[in-house]
């Protein structure tokens, strides 16, 4: 047993040395996830101080309309594009995604009625695919209209609504996104890294050479798992540090739970890559299979909120969902491992299943 483990450790050390010398692999496992983190972080910072890109097309020359247009410039939520003046031009820009919305003031906007109160209706255009923008903007405009109305007439609506963002417990949207980014990179490192690694070593005859020694398949698998665990933890640490330094990530939970949970997650995802790479004879077999397995898991991040209830429930059993939920519960809610029973259960079942498959279908050549 001691000899068995010694061999595993020697092999793991050797594989790690090889890995560190592989510049391309280093880029894709260390730097690439970091770029990914930076992009997602930047996107979500923008959402944190959310604003809407809008064009205002004013057909009216009433004082109320002018006052309203002027007030939008002070509105931090709205970024007004002054250089867009016609509705066609605005629609075209919106089609290209430059604008979130168009506000159109009709000709009669702001004309006073019999009682001396200005009337009119602002038309808020929004993309059909993005109704939330329309609703949110309508609310903001309503508020803005009311305050303009108050300035001009001194009339106050008796019932008003105040809008406030829900920065619960000072958590930013980045704090929520970080768990997804970690899950995403764990999937890609574990599945793609390994699914490509073994077939190359089979094709080049490296595993064949090892097979001519007393090395057991289980030792090779363990050593490689250990190597990927080290790589995964290094990558996680790097992302964590950047998240803290650049995006002021709030860590709510304890580090021990976080690390243990991540170890579990990395080993689980590695199991999928191992099963694919261990079975495949070459890259032609492993690449499509890896995509087949990884893409649904990755898609879950982005599309789950669009799914109908039943599909949402099913995808909850994909191994990546409890992984991301667990990380999020630890980092944003401060939960410990003992409070993550259902996540650990789903992941545990997957781990057993995938490693049994991996060892059963492993091929040396």
């Amino acid at each position: 047993m001691k000899r068995y483990i010694y061999t595993v450790l020697v092999l793991c050390r050797t594989l790690s040395i090889r890995f560190v010398r592989d510049k391309v692999a280093l880029f894709f496992t260390m730097l690439f996830p970091l770029l990914f983190l930076l992009v997602f972080g930047a996107l979500n910072q923008r959402a944190g101080g959310a604003h809407f890109d809008v064009a205002i097309i004013n057909h009216s020359d009433t004082a109320f309309a002018k006052q309203f247009v002027a007030s939008t410039k002070n509105n931090k939520v709205l970024k007004v594009y002054n250089n867009i003046t016609s509705i066609d031009q605005a629609k075209e820009r919106m089609g290209r995604g430059d604008l979130d919305s168009i506000l159109e003031l009709p000709k009669e906007f702001g004309q006073t009625n019999d009682t001396g109160v200005p009337t009119g209706q602002v038309v808020v255009y929004y993309e059909e695919s993005n109704p939330q923008t329309g609703q949110t903007l309508a609310g903001i405009i309503k508020q803005s209209l009311e305050s303009t109305n108050y300035k001009l007439t001194g009339n106050v609506d008796p019932l008003t609504v105040q809008q406030k963002s829900t920065k619960t417990a000072h958590l930013t949207s980045f704090d929520y996104v970080f768990a997804s980014v970690l899950g995403f990179t764990t999937v890609s490192l574990g599945i793609f890294g390994m699914a490509n690694g073994f077939p190359v070593e089979k094709r080049t005859g490296r595993l064949r050479r090892l097979r001519a020694t007393p090395l057991k398949a289980s030792q090779l698998v363990l050593a490689t798992a250990l190597e990927y665990l080290l790589i995964g933890l290094a990558s996680t640490t790097l992302m964590f540090v950047v998240a803290r330094l650049v995006f002021h990530f709030n860590m709510r939970g304890d580090y021990l739970s976080f690390i243990v949970f991540m170890i579990f997650g990395i080993l689980l995802m590695f199991g999928f890559g191992l099963a694919i790479g261990g079975w495949a004879k070459n890259e032609n077999q492993s690449a499509p299979l890896a995509n087949l397995v990884a893409l649904p898991m990755m898609g879950v991040f982005f599309l789950r909120f669009l799914m109908p209830d039943w599909l949402d429930k099913i995808t909850g059993y994909l191994p990546v969902v409890p992984l991301v939920n667990g990380v999020r519960a630890i980092t944003t809610e401060g939960k410990t491992l003992f409070q993550l029973g259902s996540e650990l259960l789903i992941m545990g079942v997957w781990t057993i299943v995938i490693y049994v498959i991996a060892i059963k279908f492993f091929r040396w050549e």
Binding site: L9, I17, R18, G205, R209, R211, A212, K216
Partner: protein
């Protein structure tokens, strides 16, 4: 014959109904250099791989130093050194790191530099294997096969693809290994190589051994059957010219 270290009896292997090895038997003595020659597809590599416990044996038995290969493949691998035809080593590893890895697998402690000395690669100790020349790679693969101080060293076409200088160099290495008392079993396509290195040669064709004897006796029996070669006594051949012109010195990047 001295005590046999390897006893092969009725060894058989077929692939998809096609019999590649058709029940061959032979014995190899301790300390002997035993050659297997034959055209491509004769079953040489398949035979070696069955003996090395790399390929399941369909029928027959192999006793290697008293170990039954079929029943105890792990123990066989512990006592043999194998240089394979189509295999390679991990890239981005120094030769010393490679050898330490193998030592770790066999659970033995070694002096990597001493092993590299044996194959004259000490000056390449810190090179990666992918940056070695063909001859150096073959020598390194022999060094790797010697890590566990094997009882039997298997060399599958060790000189294929090497230039005449590197080939001669490898011959010297094989003779050096033989002197240390290690049994060597090798395959080759070069008859001069078999004649020079091997104590006995088995000629294989179509999955059977059609002749097995010392090179000298094989030649003798051919002559006895009345074989004659057009005699023009040449004092030298083109290979002699080549070596004379280019020297015996190894050419390695």
């Amino acid at each position: 014959m001295a005590t046999p270290i390897l006893k092969v009896k009725g060894l058989r292997k077929s692939y998809g109904g096609q019999e590649a090895v058709k029940g061959i038997s032979f014995e190899v003595a301790k300390g002997e250099v035993f050659g297997i020659v034959g055209p491509n597809g004769a079953g040489k590599t398949t035979t070696l791989e069955m003996i090395e416990a790399l390929r399941p044996i369909d029928d027959g038995s192999v006793l290697l130093n008293g170990i039954n290969v079929q029943q105890d493949p792990a123990r066989v691998k512990q006592v043999v050194g194998i240089q394979l035809q189509s295999s390679s080593f991990y890239d981005r590893l120094k030769l010393t790191e490679q050898l330490r890895l193998f030592a770790g697998i066999y659970n033995v402690s070694i002096d990597p530099m001493a092993l590299l000395q044996e194959v004259e690669l000490t000056d390449k100790a810190s090179s990666f294997v992918e940056n070695l020349s063909g001859g150096q790679q073959q020598r390194f693969s022999i060094a790797a096969a010697l890590v566990n101080s094997p009882l039997i060293l298997f060399l599958d076409e060790p000189t294929t693809g090497l230039d005449p200088q590197a080939r001669r160099h490898l011959w010297a290495l094989v003779q050096h290994i033989k002197k240390k008392g290690i049994t060597v079993i090798l395959t080759t396509h070069y008859m001069e190589e078999a004649e020079l290195l091997c104590d006995r040669v088995a000629v294989m064709d179509n999955g059977t051994i059609i002749a097995l004897d010392t090179p000298k006796n094989l030649v003798k029996s051919l002559l006895k059957r009345g074989f004659t070669k057009a005699q023009h006594v040449e004092q030298a051949n083109l290979e002699d010219v080549f070596i004379d012109l280019t020297g015996k010195e190894l050419r390695e990047a």
